[in-house]
Symmetry: C2
Subunit: 242 residues, 2 copies
Amino acid sequence: MVSKSQIKFIKNLQQKKYRTEHKLFVVEGVKTVKELVKANIKPYAIYTTSSTVLEDENFKSELISTADLKKISALKTPNNILAVFHQPKEKEITPNNWVVAVDDVRDPGNLGTIIRLCDWFGITNLFCSNHTVDCYNPKTLQATMGSLARVNIVYGDLEAFLKSTKMPVYGAFMDGKNVYKESFTAENGVLVMGNEANGVSVTIENLVTKKISIPQFGAKTTESLNVATATAILLNEIRRGA
Amino acid sequence: MVSKSQIKFIKNLQQKKYRTEHKLFVVEGVKTVKELVKANIKPYAIYTTSSTVLEDENFKSELISTADLKKISALKTPNNILAVFHQPKEKEITPNNWVVAVDDVRDPGNLGTIIRLCDWFGITNLFCSNHTVDCYNPKTLQATMGSLARVNIVYGDLEAFLKSTKMPVYGAFMDGKNVYKESFTAENGVLVMGNEANGVSVTIENLVTKKISIPQFGAKTTESLNVATATAILLNEIRRGA
């Protein structure tokens, strides 16, 4: 049985301002819930319609009716399970590894893919400008899964961060230096990726010390690569060595 | 004024079977329509609610009311313009360049991103297994834009295609050879990318002559890369040279 006030509380968490206020977020679906629990993201409350859904897992869940799940779910067809998790605490960024910084990435799927890429390539810190989409947006979570637990995601003033860092600042531009000619020998650095429509903003561009580009092999009419696929290629370039 | 039979005809094109039968597809939104016209995709009919929408373009459009646009649109909030285009003809695949082959990719956004990547990296042929999502799906079109005109997309029996080709067949696997150690010296080849959930199917795996993998740098718990980002990295590896 889910009380009226619980229903309201959980529904409110569909909005970013409540998620930020309570430092919580909501996940639906067995696979992602299991992934997050396994990755040591702390559950706040877990609701299931069948006790067998999570039988192998070592945590408490509350059995509720399908009708109640419908009331708290954001999905048209709820998925047997809904969990509320504590947001992992933001940690200070240490300059002993590469950092990916996104300048107002707006598409939740793109941000989710970038988080998963950071995890794959062992990038432990992701800096998001204040106008970047919320990493606890359901569509972001769908793309990140457990990666959320292994990447430290910090929101803040990107300009101030870049001004304060001593690391070299790389940025992806259409007119930068051919990335194949760049040897990423530094043990650390910041890779700045821009917004989907406008790229890196002028203020941030002025703080980039090394502009890089991915060479284009097809017709020059192709407008640009999607920000998530460009991040994939550049992180691969950084990690593969010269 | 759009007639009842026209409305029915256009609405039917939201379904793959009608698109395939009539060799037509529907696009909404000024940017994509302009891109496709510019890329020489042949329009069948263009409907706009304002004659200024496409004033710079060199083709005929039919002026209709907002109410009529609503009747033919698949969107909740129609975008001032809807166009029906002829599907480009499938051309035979010639072995003078690399070919990307997808084995049952199901997500329309992933297929769209892969088409755009082919265009960026100068891959002129994309082979789609018969159960791959339709490349004229609206969500695919949203991700491809003009690239659709520059990449020859062929649907067919992937097993038969791989059996008949004389090109080396590479495939992306979790347990393949480190792609950084592979030197892509051949001037042609096929790169096979698998389905989102199951990867490359067993039948197709047996026809792959070189299994390759993208090294993982983070925690080994990261399950896999998304098929579109993996394609981005592998095409970059093929094109960058050793």
